[in-house]
């Protein structure tokens, strides 16, 4: 994996971020040494981001669950090889987003209709879920564009970090973000005017 740029910032926010990274490094170390509690803290801390990113790319609750779960299982399998000087989240998010893109592409090819997944999603109660006109508009984008949107706006990566995560030129990331925003703006425009 390409090295990710360190998060920038100064003052209290930077000190908080540094403290958080230190705590996370300890959790990874403890998980590597066999502490299930430490791994559960990592899981609970990162589940929402992983699941939401997968959901934004897949737009299917069951598929998002599968992708996020598989990503964590992949993380378990690779935990011993993980360099804990690096942040855990980008490592996980890279697995999630790449798997979600692959799954969304193959699903589009199969044009699969999975009633179980649709029913699962419909049956899941959630307060103010990600299911409004914004996510409907996201559906019109391809999975690669949705992945970039998820990484930028959901997980708060910079375009440079996204480029490193997805092994893409930074210009490609910027152009995908531009196209996605333009497309969303067009679809949401009528409502604003």
């Amino acid at each position: 994996m390409a090295a990710l740029p360190a998060a920038g910032g100064t003052g209290v926010a930077a000190r908080f971020a540094a403290g958080s990274r230190l705590r996370e490094r300890r959790l990874v170390r403890d998980a590597q040494r066999g502490s299930a509690e430490a791994f559960e803290v990592l899981f609970r801390r990162h589940w929402a981001g992983a699941y939401r990113a997968a959901w934004v790319v897949m737009r299917d609750a069951a598929a998002a669950e599968d992708v996020a779960q598989e990503a964590f299982i992949a993380a378990v399998r690779a935990l011993d090889r993980f360099d804990r000087r690096r942040p855990f989240a980008p490592w996980l998010h890279r697995i999630v987003v790449n798997r979600a893109i692959d799954a969304a592409r193959s699903r589009a090819l199969r044009r699969e209709v999975d009633t179980a997944a649709a029913e699962d999603a419909a049956a899941d109660p959630a307060p103010e879920p990600l299911s409004d006109e914004l996510t409907a508009a996201l559906a019109d984008l391809g999975p690669e564009h949705r992945a970039v949107v998820a990484l930028r706006y959901l997980l708060d990566y910079t375009p440079g970090e996204i480029a490193a995560l997805l092994d893409l030129p930074r210009g490609t990331v910027n152009s995908r973000l531009r196209r996605a925003l333009d497309r969303l703006a067009t679809m949401l425009g009528e409502e604003v005017r």
């Binding site: 590597q32 299930a36 791994f39 559960e40 899981f43 609970r44 589940w47 929402a48 699941y51 939401r52 959901w55 609750a61 069951a62 598929a63 998002a64 669950e65 599968d66 992708v67 996020a68 779960q69 598989e70 964590f72 299982i73 378990v76 399998r77 692959d102 799954a103 699903r107 699969e112 209709v113 999975d114 009633t115 179980a116 029913e119 699962d120 999603a121 419909a122 049956a123 899941d124 959630a126 307060p127 879920p129 990600l130 299911s131 914004l134 949107v149 998820a150 706006y153 959901l154 997980l155 531009r178 925003l181 333009d182 969303l184 703006a185 949401l188 425009g189 409502e191 604003v192 005017r193």
Partner: protein, 389 residues
């Protein structure tokens, strides 16, 4: 990039994405954690992983010392010391199968034959069978060995054998007192009495789907033309026949004989005893079926891009399926425990049997191939018996 209000509005809304949960997020977290926790708990402890490397080095040393021992009297002393070191890390003797709950025995079939697995972890090999199934009360098993159909006791005593000109397959022992066994042989359906006598042809041109007994003498099967037929095998009277769009891959009657469940690769249908369809569910990628002893729900495996899911489906109304476990690789058999409290899932890729209990708690039994001995292969789950014993 456009600088108009619509772009700013789109960006403003996107920046609110982190504040809002996705559908199903919390429930999915609990389900996923059970699976991830199981995967984490299966990691060998770090010390053991280091020890594995140390053991490899030690094994090389043993070879060297063994040679030295053969050549010099002093080598015997060193070899003894190494033997002590290795024995301190030996296995505890607790088998993976010892995690099975009480209340029945599991029938497992592997490349090395068929085995009855007892809840205390004990195993009994019952024959070199490629397929096998329980009799209704679990007093016998029927198995296929090359061109033979055999009935054996759970301890492996052969009760009868029928040699056939072609290989029989997909045997199914009848309900009730178990007076009949149905099986397929090169596109034909045959029935033999429970004592191994009176073997006769019942129907030609049938599909390769295990027949399902509704009672001790009423049998349902799939024809090569894709129809589901139900027949009284004694009177040879056809009870009903129904043409279906998707050829079933599995058939099963509920224990009360009131509902037939037919699983195809595109979904599941439920029929009443007269063959009228009372429920239909579309589910792409369905593979295996296990009816709950109550007959009120079924477990099915569904293969998809994200791996195999095991779902629980209600059979009395069109309620939503409940995912029991997701993200599995190949699944080689599922079976409900006789009391219906647990579902056993054979997960080949992880070499585990997964016990899914109340609250969808998943308990893995790991390293199950190793329990059968070298070369026996992965044990498929062929049945879990028996509520009537």
């Amino acid at each position: 990039m456009r600088g108009d209000p619509a772009v700013r509005e789109a960006e403003r809304r996107l920046r609110r994405l982190p504040d809002r949960p996705a559908p199903g997020e919390a429930d999915a977290a609990d389900r996923a954690w059970r699976v991830v926790e199981a995967a984490y708990s299966e990691r060998p402890p770090r010390a053991a992983r280091r020890r594995a490397g140390w053991r490899l080095a030690l094994a090389a040393a043993i070879v060297a010392v063994g040679l030295a021992g053969a050549l010099t009297p002093a080598g015997a002393k060193v070899g003894e010391w190494i033997g002590d070191r290795l024995s301190t890390d030996s296995e505890t003797g607790v088998t993976a199968f010892a995690g099975l709950p009480k209340g029945g025995e599991v029938l497992a079939v592997s490349d090395g034959g068929a085995w009855v697995v007892y809840p205390d972890g004990a195993l009994h090999r019952v024959g070199s069978f490629s397929e096998a199934g329980w009799s209704p009360h679990g007093w016998h098993l029927v198995g296929v060995r090359e061109r033979r159909l055999e009935a054996v006791t759970p301890t492996g005593t052969v009760k009868w054998t029928r040699a056939r000109p072609r290989a029989p397959h997909q045997p199914a022992w009848s309900r009730g007192e178990g007076y009949r066994v149905a099986y397929l042989e090169e596109g034909t359906l045959r029935v033999v009495a429970g004592d191994g006598t009176d073997d006769r042809l019942v129907r030609r041109r049938v599909a390769r789907v295990t027949p399902a007994w509704r009672t001790g003498y009423v049998l349902t099967y799939t024809t090569a033309a894709g129809k589901i037929e139900t027949l009284n095998v004694d009177s040879r009277r056809r009870v009903w026949a129904r043409r279906v769009a998707d050829r079933p891959a599995a058939l099963a009657w509920t224990n009360d004989g009131e509902r037939l469940v037919a699983l195809s690769t595109s979904g599941l249908s439920v029929y009443d005893r007269r063959g009228r369809r009372i429920l239909s569910r579309r589910l792409s990628g369905t593979r295996a079926l296990a009816l709950h002893p109550s007959g009120l729900r079924a477990a099915v495996t569904v293969a998809g891009r994200g791996g195999t899911r095991v779902l629980a489906l209600p059979l009395t109304a069109a309620g939503p399926p409940r995912p029991l476990v997701t993200g599995l690789g190949r699944v080689d058999g599922i079976a409900w425990s006789p009391d219906g409290r647990r579902l056993l899932v054979a997960s080949r890729d992880t070499d585990q049997w997964l016990l899914i209990g109340p609250g969808r708690h998943v308990r893995p039994l790991s390293g199950v191939s190793g329990e059968l001995g070298a070369g026996a292969g992965f044990p498929r789950v062929a049945g879990w018996c028996c509520s009537g014993r």
